[in-house]
């Protein structure tokens, strides 16, 4: 049986208390929200914090406020189930609703939070294993060791960003509010992530993600596509979030395409998005955009299914997601137009 290591659990009622407690705990402390990522990892000894500061008791962190017209603020402790089913999210920020609704299973979505999802630890076949397994094969640098088992000789860790919500949040132009001992700051969701499997967040460990701020949704349409083998449970093998703002006559005025689970951070396909600016979406253009968007995807052999397949799917998924937003049928579709 895998058991949690011993730790002290603190349950602050206010953000100030939480900031104080996590600061005081120093490197021995960690934040926890739903615990659906952290607790299993602790059982496998990926983390052994002595102090956990639980955020679920802080009322304000669970709120969702605003409207699609003005913009929305989603508290970090809103559960994924709440995010997935919230009418304002579904109306203005469909990619986020779809992403939250595609995480794992209903029980985990009832426990797991948006903030926890955005801060989700990166994943790797050699890392998400029990202590015994990792010891048998030799530890890697992400925990307890000093080499990378996927890419021996690599000076860095290539563990994968596997959050479903992050690509959607980035595509929607979300910003996140962080509060720490040094005060408050707001950064774009894209800037929250670093291309490093070990230090994958740009925030300090004692900074608390307080809420996710979504800009006004006018004119934007978005979607999120997730690749997994089963109809439930699985982490994304690939996630594609696309958001488009179109003007009169269907001309695309702004576009964001973000790929998840292909690198240590969500990958923003800037060049591909640039191809559609000022254009109308045609089948031909979509094909070229999809090709360009999949180029930065460089999967390694540290997740389910083969590298070749995951790479190919990046193109297929971007193409389908764009077609969905353009209202186009897929090539060779027996059913024709929708």
């Amino acid at each position: 049986m895998l058991r949690l290591p011993p730790f002290t659990y603190l349950a602050p009622r206010t953000l100030e208390q939480a900031v104080g407690q996590i600061g005081e705990a120093g490197p021995e402390g960690m934040l926890v929200a739903g615990g659906t990522d952290l607790y299993p990892n602790m059982k496998r000894r990926q983390f052994e914090p002595k102090v956990l500061v639980g955020l679920r008791g802080i009322r304000d962190l669970g709120r969702i406020s605003g409207t699609p017209a003005q913009g929305l603020a989603i508290g970090a402790c809103a559960t994924l189930a709440q995010v997935a089913s919230h009418p304002a999210v579904a109306e203005g920020y469909r990619a986020l609703a779809l992403a939250a609704g595609a995480v794992s299973t209903p029980p985990l979505r009832n426990m797991g939070t948006l903030g926890g999802n955005l801060c989700l630890d990166t994943r790797c076949n050699y890392y998400n294993q029990t202590y015994h397994w990792r010891k048998s094969i030799g530890f890697c640098m992400k925990k307890d060791g000093d080499i990378c088992l996927v890419a021996p000789g690599s000076p860095r860790c290539w563990a994968l960003s596997s959050t479903d919500a992050a690509p959607a949040a980035i595509a929607l132009g979300a910003r996140v509010r962080l509060v720490g001992a040094g005060g408050e700051r707001v950064v774009s969701a894209a800037d929250l992530y670093r291309d490093d499997g070990m230090r994958y967040l740009s925030k300090a460990p004692d900074e608390i993600l307080v809420d996710v701020i979504l800009p006004p949704a006018d004119g934007w349409r978005s979607t999120y596509w997730k690749l997994r083998r089963r109809g439930s449970f699985d982490f994304p093998i690939l996630g594609v979030a696309v958001a488009l703002r179109s003007g009169p006559g269907g001309v695309i005025e702004d576009a964001r395409i973000v790929l998840g689970a292909v690198a240590s951070r969500p990958v923003v396909a800037t060049r591909a998005a640039g191809l559609v600016m000022g254009q109308r979406l045609t089948a031909d253009l979509i094909g070229r955009v999809a090709q360009a968007a999949s180029e930065p995807a460089k999967p390694l052999d540290n997740a389910d299914l083969t590298i070749g397949y995951r790479k190919r799917m990046a193109r297929v998924y971007v193409e389908r997601a764009l077609r969905e937003l353009a209202g186009l049928p897929y090539d060779g579709a027996p059913g024709g137009a929708r």
Partner: protein
Amino acid sequence: MSVRTLPVTRGGIGESVPRVDAVPKAKGTFLFASDLWAEDMLWGFTVRSPHPHARIRSIDVSGALAHPGVRAVLLAGDVPGRKTYGLEFADQPVLAWDRVRYAGEPVAIGAAEDPETARRAGERIVVDYEVLPAVTDMAQALRADAPRVHDFGNVLRHVHIVHGDPDAPADVWVEGYYETAVQDQAPLGPEAGLAIPAPDGGVDLYVATQWLHVDRQQIAPCLGLPAHKVRLHLAGVGGAFGAREDLSMQIHASLLALRTGRPVKIAYGREESFLGHVHRHPARIWMRHGARRDGTLVCVRARILVDGGAYASSSAAVIGNASTFACGPYEVPNALVDGTAVYTHNPPCGAMRGFGAVQVCFAHEAQMDRLARALGRDPVELRLRNALRTSSVLPTGQVVRGSAPVAAVIRRCAALPLPPEAPPAGRGDPRAYPGGCGNVSRGERLRRGVGFAVGYKNIAYSEGFDDASAARVRLRADAAGPIAEVRSAAAEVGQGIHTILAQIARTELGVERVAILPPDTGVGSAGSTSASRQTMMSGGAVQAACAAVREALFARVRRSLARPRGELRLAGGLVLLDGEPVGPIAAFLDEPVEAERVYHHRPTRPLDARGQGEPHAAFAFAAERAVVEVDEELGLVRVVQIAAAQDVGRALHPQSVQGQIEGGTAQGLGLALMEELQLRDGRIRNASFTDYLIPTIADMPPVVSALVEEPEPGAPYGAKGVGEPATIVATAAIVAALRDATGRELNRVPVRPDDLAGLAPPVAPVAPPPPPPQGSGPEPVPWAHGLATGQHELLQEPAHEGAGEDPRPWERTRGGTGS
């Protein structure tokens, strides 16, 4: 005129009565083995080898023993009795002493005051290994220069079957190569048990297992105790599927309890469960089928290789099954089958639902489809034309004597309604499309395919093994009326045997109150809950014991009645004479009536050097038709519908039969599409439910089933076991449907998205089929080395306690069966 209502007994056979364990299981109050607890109990732990093959230079336990809260650490030298054990052959060390042969092999055990202390103590045990070259490929294991897993070599058993003239000419030949991956039983309840030392120097072990008596047969000699001092009690079993046929923590917990004088619990976690039980054998199969132009099969040639891993477990029987079922449920006048099970340094493989028949069914059904294509014939018609029937001769020379409604099973399955056409793209529920829960499809680019498969398997044990079942039934009365108490050691593993036994007692004794007493070794062996056998075997024992009780009761009734002639019957709590009530059953039960009976199936005979004999007792057949949708670009699959027809003899509890068909299909779907225990250099890479994928409810299609009821002569009520056939055919049917949808070859399961998206070619054999190994077979090789133990010994034991040790018991078993 008054209407007379005949007394009836409710809840008898044929009714889908509520299961006896339904409410506690649904409420969560049912206690599984991992919930066991005793006052003052210690927690056991196991230290396992990280290497697939290594010499143990030294083991330093001082750090663990010095740790506060650690009460014992035991090594191989502390095993007081026999150092090895095994279900069929005692080739597996209780604890490794000089060598480890697979990654995960137990090297040391210990007990501590709490689980966290136990875990830390385990980490403080230092084992110095000298890593040795390992053989982890089944074909390489047969090469002369391969590292030897055991001193006697790497061949575990070779089965050679020659039938008719294997060189017979045929009009059309088709040839194929097939591979199946390692599948895991993935029972939701991990291995667990609690050993409590007894004042008599023995031990009481509460454990989740499939066969209490065979466990004891292996445990007692290792503990150096007589069998009667080792008492086993069945704890709540959270699924088995073969994984609990072999021992896991049983000897370890008992050793620790005896050493510390305190109760010791061992409960594996998920990863340890993957390391601590055997798996389904991976297989490589070469097949050639020859037929006449009209579709009649002329000849089948098959070469089968299965990887048994480091220890024998039931590999000898699995390769026996794979070889004897290689030709499928068809009349094949000429055949040559060579099946080899090898030892490697991979984790051991053993029993799993379908037991050798799954792998060959995947191959022979693909071959039948190939043949249909080559002949331009309908695949269902081709199967019907060649279908086995009662009196058919099998490749082993065995004549099918029981019921064999293969044609009926095929026809019923083919006639089940097809699902509606796929809704036009964009109209359906997105979740109903391949990968649909990921929002990836609106129904475009889908290809639908339909596949059909037929398969069969033996019920109960084979090749001369008389796996009898005992049961004791006591009929008594209390203030509430008559009650039947059934005492059977049959393991309820979730399949519903306890409910069936209660139904049989109701039908036979005409009482509605039945108590199923807790299964333990205080009654005779019920044999294993495996091989789809308990309904037939323990059901037969309970039926016979009830009949004996009834006769004794009737003798009493006749003594007390004035007109003793006429036909006596029991129903609805009453004794009836020629249909007329003569009094309540309870009135004749001042003294309880009790009887114990043992049920034997039809004797079987082992295979000879040419694979001829009468290896199997009875057969069950199944057919499934799968309808799938494949998104060709994504390589994702949605199974739309499974239609199943199964030969069940007689459905004693129709809902349970359907449940077995659906559950069996889910496991077959798992092997077809996702379940693969990934091994690299002998190490399991995905020992978790995050990475070892089993189907969820979102992946399961509706299953429509038809039960074909043609009673099996000699079986209770004609009932056949139903647990395995659906698993055997589901994989083959689904992959056939995938081939139909995509036109791809798909010769390896599980089929991956890569294969369906055209990114991976069909697997090709790394080498030509290896020649049959010299000088072995049909006897399993460990047999010749005096390693026979376990279930073979059990046959020598009287039904009750106190059997002595028999030095070479297997000789008698074997000698007695050939005549």
